[in-house]
Amino acid sequence: MAGPIIFDQKVKTDKKRITIDPVTRLEGHGKIDIFLDDKGNCINAYWQVPELRGFERFCVGRHVGELPVLTNRLCGVCPAAHHLASARALDAVFSAEPTPTAHKLRELFYMGQYVHSHIAHFYALAAPDFVLGPAAPANKRNILGVVEAVGVPIGAEVIKHRSYGQKVQEIIGGRATHPVFGIPGGVSKPLTEEERVHIETMAKSCVEFGKFTLKLFNDVVLANKDYLGLITNGKSFYQETNYMGLVDENDKVNFYRGKVKIVSPEGKELAKFEPKDYLNYISEHVEPWTYMKMPVFKPIGWKGLVDGAASGIYRVGTLGRLNVSKGFTTPLAQAAYEGMVKTVRSLGVTGPVHHTLAYHWARVVELQYAAEKMLELASDKSITSTDVRGKIGEPKEGVGIVEAPRGTLIHHYKSDKDGICTGINMIVATTNNNAAIAHEVKKNAMALIRDGMVSPGLLNMLEMSFRCYDPCNSCGTHLLPDGSRALEVRIIDKDGNVKQVLKNF
């Protein structure tokens, strides 16, 4: 297999504005406008997404019990996360504590989503940049090129384990992509012993595949000095922000439930709170140039598109979760986490890891955790108990928070006494990351584009800076999932004229 192509020939552009629109390998249509000065240096860059209309209006007036199956259609990428956040919100709305078996079944289902989602992201979206290189020809820099490079048998393993994740969700959730099992206080059906054994078998295979993926990441990425330099250079792909994520009582990562923890850029705990209190800690800032709001840590507030301890901007997602936590409850993932910490400490990093490309690293560690946790839950024979629903009370207001694969996901519902929805607020993972992504794009464009020198590989590197976050614009703007939207990059001169357009559609 030939080595990856990391750098390509740059050519001088006389354009003053570079636009990447729509972004390749990104859910939802995105657009990047890059503004150049007379000398061809980037002076500003905007990451923008379009909007779908009227989701809140669509939900108000319906029975809140419908919301787990309505909100999960917000997105074709992480419907399971919306379904569970919605079920958790309904637990709160109806003061209904799920039974231990119901919690286990929801969590087992969710590990299926993580296995499925993290495999898809790493192999289909990230691997083209790592295996083939950011400057590989665009018509090769995709999953087909990756399979060509690593071989069809490995490609088939990727597809197989991704489908195992999907199958687990289908067995427990009733349907593969748009689950129907989450109800207030529990789930709608128990698991049979035959189904448990089936999931246990698939989970064992996923644990092995998790090990394989970690080794691949080590061999292809970490062992390559150029890549390691790209990840850890501390100039591009780097910002010192606050971080947010769910943790359990021992400060270990938990995707399904726990308290929300926020840490400062130095790693100091700024807050740890119950989901119902999120409005005390998060406020949503609005910028005139984008539909998507920019949530910030409320006690600090919005200080502009800047990083550092004085800024309220925080990041969520794979790296965010690792930065707020003390690692994982399963042995292989914990060992991988400790290995990651050891490597970055040896490079002089003392607090949280601010290197954005390490999102991918954190993702492969989390894949290992999801597979191990899937096996742990599926090996527990008590999970086939038929006691799958707790008692429910009178409806009122409630908040549910889970960790979607791409970050913290908040559902907040208000209900009248008959269970009719009177208000809904959602802050999705990509919205939580929105300010950080916009800042990342601007910072990297300013670092990468100098003297008017651009190349397709360089622009792809700009895309890499936000692809790490696995952003899903479709639900970030309450936009829906045809799954085929894309990105355009425009280069704009100092007079506002569009000089060059690069698009992937």
Binding site: P22, T24, R25, L26, E27, G28, P50, E51, L52, R53, G54, F55, R57, F58, L70, R73, G76, V77, P79, S117, A120, H121, A124, L125, A138, N139, K140, N142, I143, L144, V147, E148, V152, G155, A156, I159, R162, S163, Q166, A176, T177, H178, D470, C472, S474, L479, L480, P481, D482, G483, S484, R485, A486, L487, N504, F505
Partner: protein, 154 residues
């Protein structure tokens, strides 16, 4: 359960106005109980859709389409090769449908259908939440469904 030879696959989001027409068509066709035909619906894309196709000889995809310079309600018959220019192009969290089909042919060639046909109708509004279709599109729904059924019988 043994699969039939032919799959009708309605794709779209039933909550997003005209984007839901593939699902509406699938739900109408399933009521007809056509022999030898499986009918599925999916609010999904990419690899998920490709996996649903595995094991069939022929797949007819019913979906909304949104192209410049076309009238809402216009029905289009498309083949795999019509999407070939997007194979390496835009793709979402996973991959787009044309890349996914290429991936299926790369990794599971013997399981992929020989014949994949797309019956698409030009949408007017795919960005407003709603469960009903716009007027021009709604008026053409029965012709859209007939076009899918005609394709089954070919």
């Amino acid at each position: 359960m043994k699969k039939n030879r032919v799959l009708v696959l309605g794709i779209g989001n039933p909550l997003l106005t005209d984007d839901g027409i593939g699902i509406v068509a699938a739900r109408e066709i399933i009521k007809k109980g056509l022999a030898g035909v499986d009918v599925e619906e999916a609010t999904a894309s990419g690899i998920e859709v490709m996996e649903m196709m595995l094991g069939y000889e022929k797949v007819i995809v019913a979906d909304a389409i949104f192209l410049p310079d076309h009238e809402p309600g216009e029905i289009m018959h498309l083949k795999e090769e019509d999407f070939s220019h997007t194979v390496h192009g835009s793709s979402p969290h996973g991959v787009n449908i044309s890349t996914a089909i290429a991936l299926g042919r790369q990794t599971s060639p013997e399981m992929m259908p020989k014949d994949i046909v797309f019956i698409a109708m030009q949408a007017e509004d795919i960005s407003t939440f709603g469960e009903s279709q716009t007027e021009k599109v709604a008026r053409m729904m029965s012709e859209f469904i007939d076009a899918v059924i005609k394709e089954i019988r070919k």
